[in-house]
Symmetry: C2
Subunit: 406 residues, 2 copies
C-alpha cells in the first residue's frame, strides 16, 4: 500500500480539446478495394471530367430542343428518325434540324442535339417518323460531360474517412490505388501480477484472465487502428519502463491497461514520467478517474484504469477519437444514438462527467448498475448516457440521448 | 427499345417485412481476435463462474463486518493486522474475529472475511493495529465469485453481432475461439455494354468505368459480408443467365447492378425468372424504383437500378439488412443519426418512400439535389432524410432525423 500520488485532474472536455498530439501516421498506397474508411493524405483530383461525355438520363430521343417548342398532344412535333445510339459506343449520326436519334439511358448525346425527350412523350406513328407530344428545354434528359466532376476538381477530400460511395466515384474516375494514412499501430500493454493470458486453461487462486486487452483491440479496430499486443507486464516499475522503451519506436499510440491497485497506478505514472511528459493524471469522469494521458518521444500514451469497465468507458471517450486523429481524420465519426426516457433517477456529481450504462427497450432507458469491476455491466448494456459536467444528476422520466454500441 | 414490362411494385416496408429468405450462413470457428461483429451461432456459456473468487474492489482491509459495527471517528474499532493478500495469489491467512488482512484492489478475499473496508476509513495508528472509523455491511467492498457471470450462464447471446466488450468477457472466461456464422459471400455482377473495369486507363466514347461494384463492395463490407466480384456482363440475357448459374452455388446473396436502359432491366428480370422466383419488381422508393427482389435456388437475388446513386440508396435500404440477417443477426445494426431542420421544402409523393441526400451544418439539413445519374450527389452528402410513404413532402424548417453516412 503506497501513499497517495498527486493527481492533476482534467475534465474530459479539456482532454479532448487539449490533448491533441500532432502525430499522424505516414502515407501508404493501397488498392481501392482496401481503402474503405481510410483517410486520403491529400484531396484526390479527377484526372478527367466525369462522366466525360454528355449522357442521356432517360430512354427516348435526342433532339434539338427548339424543334419541340409548342409540341402538345393535340399538335405534336414530327421528327425524322435519323438512327439510334448504342450503349457504350460513339453515335454514328448527328441530329440535324427536324431530326431525332433514338437514345438508351446512358448513351452518348449525338452532335447537334441539346436535349433528350422521354420515350413516354413520343410515338412512332409511321416508320421513320417520331411524334413528340411535349416540349423539352435545352439540357433536359441529359447530364453534361463534366456535371458529375470537372477535370481537376476534388473527387474526395483529405481528412475524411472514405465511405462506400467515395469508392464508387474513385472507381468511375479510374483511381484504382491511392495514398492514405497508414492504420495507427496501437500497442496494448496489460499490467498486473494477477493477470494471465486468455488462453490460460486453469487459473490459480487470485488469477484473472486479461479481458481488457481483447476488448480494447476491438475498439481499436472499430476506430480504424491496428492493435498490437505487447503482452502482460508484472507490477514492477522497471519492467513496465523496459517494455515502454521497447515498443515506443514502433507505436503510434501506446495504451497501458493498468493494474487496479493504487500501487500499480503509481507505477504506470512513474514509468511514463521517466520517458516523457504527463499531460494529466486523473480525469473527471465516472467510472474512469485514474486515467493518465502523456506523450513519450512523440507518441501519445494513455494509461487506463484497472477495472475493465472503467478502462473501456475511458477509451471510448478519449482513445477512439485519438486513433481517428492519428489516422488523419479531422473529426470523430458519427455514432449511433437514440432518444429515450430514463426509467429511474441517475445521480451525478457536478464538475464530473458520468457515463451510465443502459439498456433500451421501447423508448425507455434502464440504467445497468453494478460495480465497475464487472464486465457484464458493459455486455448487458445497449449503450450509455453521458451526464454532463455541470449536471448534478438526471431525474426519472427525463429525455436523454443514448449512444448505442455496435 | 422494348415494351413496358409488368411491374409488381411493393413498398420498402413490405420488402423489409416480407422478403426474408430463411438462408443463414454456416458456422465456422474463429479465434477471439477475429470475432468482432461476427454473430455466434448459439449462446456462449461460461465454463466457470466469473471472477471465480470473491474479489476486493477497493484497496483496504478484509474484515468481519460485525467487527466494524458502531465504528466511528470518535470511537473506532481496533483490529489486529494478521497479514496481507498479494495480487494474483491465494491468501496465506484467515480473518478471525477481531482481526483484519491488508487487501489490494482485485485481491482474493481471505476465508473468514465478509467485507473490505476502504483504506480511506482506516489508519495504522500502532504497528500491527488497524483503526477502522466507519462500519461496513457484509458484502461491501467486494464482488462475489459469480457476480459477473455464474457458471453455465450466457456470456454472449446468439443473434447479436459481438461488440468489443463481449470480446473482453469471452477472454475473461477463457473462450479463445468460438463458432460464428460465416461472412455472407455477396456476389456482385455488373451488367452493361458500356461498363468497363475501373482499371481501364482510356475510355472509348460512351464507355464508363464500373462505379457501382466498388461502392457496393464497401457497403457489403460495412454490413459484415464478403464481396465477390463476378465481373461485367454484356447486355445479353443468355450471358447474364449463364453467369447467374455459375455463381449461385457459391453465393449467399447475388446483387446484379443492372444496365440502366429499360431493355437491360427486362433482361435482368428474364434471366432471374428463368432460375427462380421474382418476389417483386419495382419498389415504391425514389430514387430506386426499378429494383428486383428474387430467390433463386435458395439464394436471395437483388437486382439494382442502373444509376449508381439509385443502386446505392436501394442497397442501403434493403441489401444491408439482408446481409446482416444472412450472417445471423436478429436485428439491423443501429445507425448514426442527427436531428436537423430542413433548409428548404422537399417534395414527395404519397405511397412512396423518398430518400433525400443532405448535407448537415450547424443543425441545418440542406438537400443535395441532382440527377440520380450523378455519383457526386452521394459523395457530397453527409447523410439522408427518408420521407415516409404516407407523407406528401416536408416543409422548410421541419425537424427531421438525418441518417449519417460513415
Amino acid at each position: 500500500m503506497t501513499g497517495r500520488e498527486f493527481f492533476r485532474t482534467r475534465t474530459v472536455a479539456e482532454a479532448l480539446a487539449g490533448f491533441r498530439p500532432a502525430r499522424r501516421t505516414p502515407a501508404e498506397t493501397v488498392p481501392l478495394a482496401d481503402a474503405l474508411h481510410r483517410v486520403p493524405v491529400a484531396p484526390v483530383r479527377a484526372p478527367a471530367a466525369l462522366p466525360g461525355f454528355a449522357r442521356s438520363t432517360v430512354d427516348g430521343f435526342a433532339v434539338r430542343a427548339a424543334d419541340t417548342y409548342g409540341a402538345s398532344e393535340g399538335l405534336p412535333s414530327y421528327l425524322d428518325l435519323a438512327g439510334a445510339v448504342l450503349m457504350g459506343a460513339a453515335p454514328g449520326v448527328e441530329v440535324g434540324p427536324g431530326r431525332c436519334v433514338a437514345m438508351p439511358t446512358g448513351g452518348v448525346l449525338p452532335d447537334g442535339a441539346d436535349a433528350v425527350v422521354m420515350v413516354e412523350f413520343t410515338a412512332e406513328t409511321m416508320p421513320g417518323t417520331i411524334e413528340v407530344t411535349r416540349p423539352v428545354a435545352p439540357g433536359a434528359g441529359l447530364v453534361r460531360a463534366d456535371e458529375d466532376v470537372a477535370a481537376g476538381a476534388d473527387l474526395v477530400p483529405a481528412g475524411r474517412p472514405l465511405r462506400a460511395p467515395d469508392l464508387g466515384l474513385l472507381a468511375a474516375a479510374g483511381v484504382v490505388d491511392l495514398a492514405v494514412h497508414a492504420r495507427p499501430r496501437v500497442v496494448i500493454i496489460s499490467t498486473g501480477d494477477e493477470v494471465v493470458a486468455p488462453s490460460t486453461a486453469t487459473l490459480r487462486p487470485g488469477q484473472v484472465r486479461d479481458a481488457t486487452a481483447s476488448a480494447l483491440a476491438g475498439l481499436v479496430r472499430d476506430a480504424g487502428g491496428e492493435p498490437v499486443y505487447a503482452g502482460i507486464v508484472p507490477d514492477d516499475p522497471g519492467a513496465l519502463e523496459a517494455v515502454l522503451r521497447e515498443v515506443l519506436p514502433g507505436a503510434d499510440l501506446v495504451v497501458v491497461s493498468a493494474g487496479s491497485s493504487v500501487g500499480a497506478r503509481d507505477e504506470t505514472a512513474g514509468a511514463v514520467a521517466a520517458l516523457g511528459e504527463i499531460w494529466c493524471h486523473g480525469l473527471a469522469v465516472k467510472p474512469g478517474k485514474p486515467t493518465l494521458l502523456a506523450e513519450c518521444a512523440g507518441v501519445p500514451v494513455v494509461g487506463l484504469p484497472g477495472n475493465p469497465l472503467s478502462a473501456l468507458v475511458v477509451f471510448r471517450l478519449v482513445g477512439v477519437p485519438l486513433v481517428g486523429r492519428l489516422a488523419g481524420a479531422d473529426a470523430p465519426p458519427p455514432e449511433p444514438t437514440v432518444r429515450a426516457r430514463l426509467a429511474r433517477d441517475v445521480p451525478s456529481a457536478a464538475g464530473r462527467l458520468d457515463v451510465v450504462q443502459v439498456t433500451v427497450r421501447d423508448g425507455v432507458a434502464e440504467p445497468v448498475f453494478g460495480p465497475s469491476a464487472l464486465l457484464s455491466v458493459l455486455t448487458r448494456a445497449d449503450g450509455c448516457v453521458v451526464v454532463g459536467e455541470p449536471a448534478t444528476g438526471l431525474d426519472a422520466g427525463a429525455e436523454v440521448e443514448v449512444t448505442l454500441y455496435r
